[in-house]
């Protein structure tokens, strides 16, 4: 079969407003798995993928969602530049059938570019539910370009779309109307849009948005907004904590067995004992701990978070918290990056791309590590369980633990707001930018797809991190614990003594402070490090029983105050290695990466010193 005449590969750009399902169309065309979230700005870089139709190859480029070609934001500028300068063969404008008026504005602008256009009218199923009827043939006639109705989620209409795209690529498309004049002025453009809609659009139900509005009264209402947010947060935490328990123990046991099996095997090959110890007690054990501790909670948290995203609830959170953030001179969308930070601070930092203003983006990145990530939950929960809820048991206990964790998180959010405000007044001076936050319609998330895709993503992410970051850390720690510096005193002991004065000043002790520092690559190894130090062992170890652990800690001088200071410092120390690297990559600057370490560290030191000081006075 010979290829059709024409180019070896046609380039097709996908543009459209945010929230129209453009990325779903892209995924359906190319078979790629780019995540689609139901709020503006989720597509952060232009993804590209290939598909073929009738023997011809096509390259699809998914441009960021934009409201207009008149460049105001960086995304719009990038999309405009791409369309004007690249050798684009066709543009597919993806429009939301339930919000045709606003979407047509962009279509009209694109039509002036003289590039062949196909309009993809997506979310037809939503329109049908709302009894919105669109005469597609009429619309096509009015616009002078092909219009294809699709339901990208279910995969309907895509073959037709490919066919029309192939058509305009080969015959160049036609432009029936001269839209140059009207398109450049918004008022005239919308007048034209209204004319077109009057001829093609019929609303079967006048009050089709009522259900959404009722949900909004509930989620954003005066008395209900904050309680619901706290409740959902507590619920997500509780499900994550309770659900991760069993899998974590299973993975733990698996790795213990792996280690037990590996040791004699390696010795048999003839490797020296020290090396075997390094590989098993250093490398393998740390790897195992990280995977056992990180994977289960992440595998539960991220799908839950994604479900909330896809349902459309998260922009409502940004709406509810916008006032707080405005007073901290930051952006309301920072609440969303904080939510992402609960899963993983590095992911939260990447998520800051949804914030347009560079100043506000930086504030969000620098404070993201105040919210505890999945790697820090187990530490916080363990300490809460050991020191705060010992009087209770059963369901009461896990509920109370969940509530206390929520309280800690609220504290972390308050600190985020305070530090954001301080940053706005000092390092990152500026005025709050104008915010237009779109509140998309509520949509039922595709539970099955989300859960499966999330699980796969997270598993790969955690495993990759464990290998890249935790394993080397394990080796380093083993070395510190097993290399002696005169009279059988290990390097670890020397360092512990060195950090002891500062540690005690902060309400901690040398071992705890050193553990925080050594846990820089991966927060989840903090507790094992503390245990290892107290037990004077040659490698990290975990203690199954919390009561035994509590006894060990108390025997080493822990009081309730120590527990409190440790939890606070856990929230307010410095970001983990992966996060710092991500900040460096996102900002392109070593300076900001270093500042991202210093700011939380200083905050943590000040707050802990104060708590310790006050605590000692009271007790």
């Amino acid at each position: 079969m010979t290829l059709c005449k024409g180019k070896p590969e046609y380039i097709v750009a996908l543009v459209g407003n945010p929230n129209v399902g453009k990325s779903t169309v892209f995924n359906a065309l190319t078979g790629l798995r780019q995540h689609t979230g139901n709020w503006a700005g989720k597509t952060v870089t232009a993804a590209s993928g290939n598909y073929s139709f009738a023997g011809q190859s096509y390259k699809a480029i998914d441009l960021p969602g934009i409201y207009s070609l008149e460049a105001i934001s960086a995304d719009e500028e990038a999309a405009r530049q791409f369309l004007l300068s690249e050798d684009v063969d066709a543009v597919v404008v993806v429009a939301d059938a339930t919000a045709l008026e606003r979407n047509l504005s962009l279509v009209l602008q694109i039509l002036t570019l003289k590039i062949p256009v196909v309009v993809c009218l997506n979310l037809l199923d939503e329109a049908r539910k709302k009894r919105i009827k669109i005469d597609i043939d009429k619309l096509s006639e009015q616009l002078g370009v092909p219009v294809v109705g699709t339901n990208a989620r279910k995969g309907r209409g895509l073959e037709q779309l490919k066919k029309k795209v192939a058509g305009v690529c080969t015959d160049g498309g036609t432009l029936e109307q001269d839209l140059q004049g009207p398109a450049s002025d918004a008022k005239q453009r919308y007048a034209l849009v209204e004319q077109i809609c009057a001829r093609c659009l019929v609303f079967g139900k006048k009050d089709y948005t009522n259900f959404d509005r009722r949900l909004d009264h509930f989620f954003m209402g005066k008395w209900t907004a904050v309680p619901i947010m706290l409740l959902l947060l507590a619920l997500v935490f509780w499900i994550t904590i309770a659900g991760a328990n069993y899998p974590s123990s299973m993975l733990s046991v698996l790795f213990i067995n792996l280690e037990a099996a590996a040791k004699p095997l390696l010795l048999d090959i003839g490797l020296p004992t020290a090396l075997v110890s390094l590989l098993t007690e250093g490398l393998l054990r740390t790897l195992g701990w990280v995977i056992a501790v990180m994977l289960p909670p992440m595998a539960i948290f991220f799908p839950l978070f994604t479900l909330l995203e896809d349902s459309g609830y998260l922009p409502r959170v940004a709406f509810n918290l916008d006032n707080c953030f405005k007073r901290a001179c930051a952006c309301g969308k920072q609440s969303l990056t904080m939510c992402m930070g609960f899963g993983c601070n590095a992911c939260g930092v990447i998520g800051c791309r949804i914030i347009q203003s560079p100043r506000e983006k930086l504030i969000a990145m620098l404070t993201n590590s105040f919210v505890p990530c999945n790697g820090r939950f187990p530490t916080l929960i363990a300490i809460i369980s050991m020191f705060c809820v010992t009087a209770f048991s059963g369901i009461c206990r896990s509920l109370l633990a969940g509530l206390l964790l929520t309280a800690l998180v609220v504290f972390a959010v308050l600190m985020t707001l305070i530090i954001s405000k301080i940053l706005s007044k000092t390092l990152l001076k500026g005025l709050p930018s104008s915010v237009t936050l779109e509140l998309p319609p509520y949509r039922k998330p595709q539970i099955g797809t989300v859960v499966v895709r999330s699980l796969l993503d997270r598993t790969i992410f955690v495993l990759a991190r464990a290998v890249k970051v935790a394993a080397p850390a394990g080796v380093l720690i083993w070395l510190l614990a097993n290399i002696s510096v005169g009279e059988g005193v290990s390097l670890l002991a020397v360092l512990t003594d060195f950090f002891s004065p500062l540690g005690r000043f902060l309400g901690l002790d040398g071992a705890i402070l050193l553990a925080f520092i050594l846990a820089f690559p991966a927060n989840e190894i903090f507790l094992p490090l503390v245990i290892m130090n107290y037990l004077q062992l040659g490698g990290i170890v975990e203690i199954e029983n919390l009561t035994t652990l509590r006894d060990l800690l108390v025997a080493n001088g822990w009081t309730g105050l120590t527990a409190l200071c440790t939890m606070v410092f856990c929230l307010l120390h410095f970001p983990c290695g992966t996060t710092v690297l991500t900040i460096k990559k996102e900002t392109g600057s070593l300076k900001w990466a270093l500042i991202s370490i210093i700011i939380p560290l200083m905050t943590g030191c000040v707050v802990c010193a104060v708590i310790n000081g006050v605590g000692r006075l009271i007790i």
């Binding site: 207009s68 008149e70 606003r102 008022k187 509005r213 509810n320 006032n323 779109e438 509140l439």
Partner: protein
Amino acid sequence: MGKAYLTLNKLPQGKCACVKTLFADEEVKRRLEDLGLVTGTKVEAVQKSRSGDPTAYYFRGTVIALRSEQARQILVEV
């Protein structure tokens, strides 16, 4: 029974109005117009947040939340 004019931020929840003029500076004005808030657009204040700021507005089939700083710069006719 003349027409009442007020700034958008003063539009009570649940009430509709018609956009008369945008007083915002160039960049903000362009953004609002791109979203569909041009003279003559029908807009409804659908949800005020707890503190009154921001407020969610419904127009042209979509809901956009604006801070009072921007809403104050839009004159509407009830």
